[in-house]
Symmetry: C2
Subunit: 636 residues, 2 copies
């Protein structure tokens, strides 16, 4: 199998690849410098040598240097050392050298992908990236379409925009022509429960009527886009574990937060499918439509992978009963992990023999058994969704800003596009849109982001030989970390009592749940303690030592993040975890949640077993020392 060397992809925790990085960068800059000089070579310079020797010129240059050195000092004084395996916090790590260099080089050309005329070079790259992502997510390239967004939040908004405008379209057609085939004779309930594929067909059908798609335009104008009326559209069902952008999304898109219904998660933090069923049936009983359902592939706080295959199956089942909904996946974090399941020929592999194959190819080592069947099935079923959010700036290892959205069927664009549909229709024949900004949420957008993702995808194949290997390392180290925590169970911490006598306390450590992906949450508790408040006190005191919220972070031994599960937001989900820790669930309320330490293990540098073992030893040593420090502080 042709492979990618992961170590050659990064500048490295010790700037190991610094020579290549600098040489390459300088060459790219020289290319740009001479490109300028080669544009009408006979044009005279506009900044003359005499001007360059003037005092004011020199003082402006000096000040430029001052500002930039100041910036550099500030960056060095308080940036997070994401490049280092000592950082185990948010979804951050070192980024691909190729992507960083592509971004930096493209800044000089400063293309704007809003309109093709502002980015003849980078718009085609964005189109290509959209196709690559669509293919990797299992969509049919004939119909699918994707583009880069500023971030996952904007991608989620855009998904809700599609969802909302589609849901209102059948009713809008009926208003314009009650006899239109496909809506004729249907009740409001039936029109609001039309499967997405039929609504897409109605777009096509209405566009065919009349001159210049004037009939379609009238229908579109009666949809929520024209009227702003969202009352009839029903409710959006999301797991409790949703990203907070969904709470903003229903506000921004005018759906209203009352229409956002969180579905309980199980104790492994995946959406509880039985609860989802109950809610769908409850709403249907009250004749309230389901606007849409969102599943999360890689929750932000727990890395949980929702059972996409079960939701997709549910949708098929309810459709037969006359209830249907739009299905969006928020795979901002976990989407790229799908690359692990593609073999060298880009075929999605069978589950049988998959783990053995990954071990044999060194993608994931023998000590880690991943994926479980349900995670595999969830990834396999992703193309059943109508649209998917996926962030290159998370597991794509590229710099900010690069989110993305991919839709299964691009006809949905006509319901949000700005242009008269016939203008758009003309454009459809072309590969490169003249004005991307006319049918996405954003306007001006950096072509450098497209160049960066494009370069990353060119270098690192979106299958097991490329991103699969890279993300495999991350999944592997997360499982190693989980296993280490799990095996550790209890340990002694020595401290001195008030009289200076050495004493011991015993602590236990419990991971929240087996990771579906590459995130691990955990908590420490003193053996015998049953108070949640006290355990939270320890967690927060430890976090304060390992945090990066104030003070210098550069000298920290380890860096991690934390999160809280409250009764209000998470219901009974954390109770299994509390039981294992010996904590009484009585103290767990809306106001007092469960605090845990939280590590997103993106680092590609702990794949060698010996390196990992040394790392774990140092980690536990630091933990013991820090627990001794924070628990010996006299309580207030």
């Amino acid at each position: 199998m042709k492979k990618t060397d992961v170590g050659a992809l990064f500048l490295g925790p010790k700037s190991e690849n610094h020579k290549f990085f600098k040489e390459m960068l300088n060459f790219l800059i020289d290319e740009h410098i001479h490109w300028r000089r080669d544009f009408h070579p006979d044009d005279k310079p506009y900044i003359s040598f005499p001007e360059q020797h003037e005092k004011l010129f020199q003082s402006t240059i000096d000040r430029t240097q001052d500002v930039l050195l100041n910036l550099s000092s500030m960056l060095k004084a308080s940036s997070e050392p994401w490049f280092s395996p000592r950082y185990l916090g948010q979804m951050n790590s070192d980024i691909l050298m190729c992507a960083a260099l592509a971004y930096m080089a493209t800044v000089l050309y400063n293309p704007n992908n809003c309109a093709y005329e502002g980015s003849p070079a980078t718009t085609p790259m964005e189109i290509e990236v959209g196709k690559q992502l669509a293919e990797m997510l299992g969509y049919n390239l004939e119909n699918a379409w994707g583009h880069i967004t500023a971030d996952g939040t904007i991608a989620n908004y855009e998904g809700l925009w599609f969802m909302r405008n589609m849901k209102s379209f059948p009713l809008a057609i009926r208003e314009v022509d009650p006899n239109f085939p496909g809506v004729k004779g249907k009740t409001e309930w039936q029109l609001l429960n039309m499967p997405t594929r039929r609504i897409l067909q109605l777009i096509t059908d209405t566009e065919k009527v009349g001159k210049n798609q004037e009939f379609f335009e009238r229908c579109r104008d009666r949809s929520v886009r024209g009227t702003g009326e969202t009352d009839a559209l029903g409710v959006l069902l999301v797991p409790q574990s949703k990203h907070y952008s969904w709470t903003k999304a229903v506000d921004v898109l005018g759906i209203g937060r009352h229409n956002l219904i969180p579905i309980d998660v199980t104790d492994n933090f995946r959406m509880d499918i039985d609860e989802l069923k109950k809610e769908i049936e409850n709403q249907a009983a009250h004749k309230i439509p389901i606007l849409g359902v969102v599943s999360v592939v890689g929750t932000t706080e727990e890395g949980a992978v929702d059972e996409v295959h079960r939701v997709a199956e549910l949708r098929r089942r309810y459709e037969k009963q006359g209830v249907s909904f739009y299905y969006h996946l928020d795979a901002a974090y976990g989407g790229y992990t799908r690359t692990i399941f593609f073999d060298e020929e880009n075929s999605f592999m069978h589950y049988d023999g998959l783990k053995t194959f990954l071990h044999e190819q060194g993608v994931i080592h023998q000590d880690v058994a991943w994926p479980p069947k349900d995670v595999y099935e969830a990834y396999k079923a992703m193309p059943e969704a109508d649209s998917i959010t996926i962030d290159p700036h998370k597991m794509g290892y590229v710099p900010y800003p690069a989110g993305a959205i991919v839709v299964k069927d691009k006809r949905v664009r006509d319901l949000v596009s700005y242009f008269a549909p016939y203008v758009f229709a003309e454009e459809k024949g072309e590969e490169d849109p003249q004005l991307l900004g006319a049918y996405i949420m954003e306007g001006s957008k950096p072509g450098a982001a497209a160049a960066s993702v494009w370069a990353a995808h060119r270098l690192v194949p979106l299958n097991v030989t490329g991103y699969g290997r890279l993300i495999g390392r991350s999944v592997e180290v997360a499982h190693r970390f989980y296993n280490s925590l799990h095996k550790q169970r209890s340990f002694k911490v020595s401290y001195e009592d008030k009289k200076g006598k050495k004493r011991y306390r015993t602590f236990k450590v419990v991971p929240l749940t087996r990771p579906d992906f590459n995130m691990v949450c955990w908590a420490f508790n003193e053996v015998g303690n049953t108070s949640l408040r006290r355990m939270n006190g320890l967690t927060l005191a430890l976090f304060k030592k390992f945090q990066y919220i104030d003070g210098p972070v550069y000298y920290d031994d380890f860096l991690t993040s934390h999160t809280e599960f409250t009764l209000e937001n998470y219901g009974q989900a954390p109770e299994t975890f509390l039981r294992k820790l010996g904590i009484s669930t009585k103290g767990y309320t809306d106001k007092q949640g469960v605090w845990v330490l939280r590590a997103s293990l993106l680092t590609p540098f702990l794949d060698v077993e010996k390196v990992y073992k040394d790392y774990w030893t140092r980690f536990m040593k630091t933990i013991k020392k820090t627990i001794a420090e924070v628990t010996s502080v006299p309580r207030k």
Copy 2:
């Protein structure tokens, strides 16, 4: 006066400052490389020398080089030469060296300004930039607040989000407590016409009631944010010349496009204040509230500056009659021009003597008389608006992505923020927000954009000594270009007839309108021609020669953009222009608009009069040659 040398700010059309650029960049990269190595210096390298000598490692490096050289070739083959004065199209030019270097250096640290914990270095920079912009826009720093957005479109959405949630707040309070002071005894009409400053006071008043601001939370929850109901909120008035993002905005925010009402523009393409009055009175007569009014400071197609002072005055007047509305400025393009009016001590200068001062200081040369009184008054009145969109990536000369929004009173944030208000209240005392993403539209966002704008503002003062000088050059060249077109009037073009005999045709050139700012539109017409269709044919044929939509752009002599004014979108506005061209207005319809060539003159390199004159001579020579080319092609 302490000045900035404009020539020292850019890499330059001929890469004149290449030595400094490369030296500085290399130093910044070295800083980063050693920063990595200095983090726990005793940690061993993770990418060993033996690994670096492996075949797979080398082949991955080789492929990286391949991809990046390929990228570089693609960028060079079809990027726009924005650095050159030969490019006179969209709002693009060379970008500030300092901003480009700051962006490039920060990419390596890859901060994420969504949360402070992802960007301890660059979040404070974003806060500082927000303050600088607020101050430059004339807001009181005690109350104002601003932040960077992905672009002006997102900033406009955010303005509409504020507007929408504020408009619905008084009604929401009444629903929760009809006796609450401030809403008690008021009719629905009165509540929907409450001036923004009173709504802001109601935020403060409701937050004071009850424990943990629970009363405020209940009110907020009854606003459109919770209910999604926008029906009662009324209509948004925008000038015909609005950016298309407003059409998207009313769709996205659930206002509905039926509630977007375009107000006619005058023949200088500013919102017609009489028409605005009529519309407000018409709506009020039908008891429909005005959700908000938007003025544009620098329209995208014409560079027109709406008369902000007159709208502000109108608002004050109508307020006395019980009609009020939110006022937003879309100054994405023209906002930075306000810097010209600040003297060295950052005082906003009087109009008397301003032009003389600008001439004396060499900000604008003697041959250009700018600003007219109404443009000055419009800029002066900007702080009367409730919020303002302003794009650093346009007249801030920084790379994409960097839009921004500034609000006059930050209390409005509480109506859109995600967090429970008391959490947010705690945070209010702090300078640096822990989670910016909780009260802006976006989530993850590049800290590099903040660093880039921050560095630009540090180097280039936001007054007449810095940005004023830079933008002054741009305003100056726009007026020179306008004057040249205006003075040119008619000219002869020679061509050969079918028999090879030399003949002449006479053409005239007419600029659309005197520029308010730095954009010029114009058209050529053969003397005697009265057909709009024929004139449009010439404009489009010329554009095809000077365009950058397909084919190589690198060899073009001049590059420009174009735009169309249709009857549907622009009403009678272009008729004066057509008359001057000798074109019959009969042909001007919804379907056949007026095509013009369009140049945004951001270039800072045509300030020397002799250089400009040579430039103009070459320009007219090319024009004559090209007209001959395109008109001698046999008609189909």
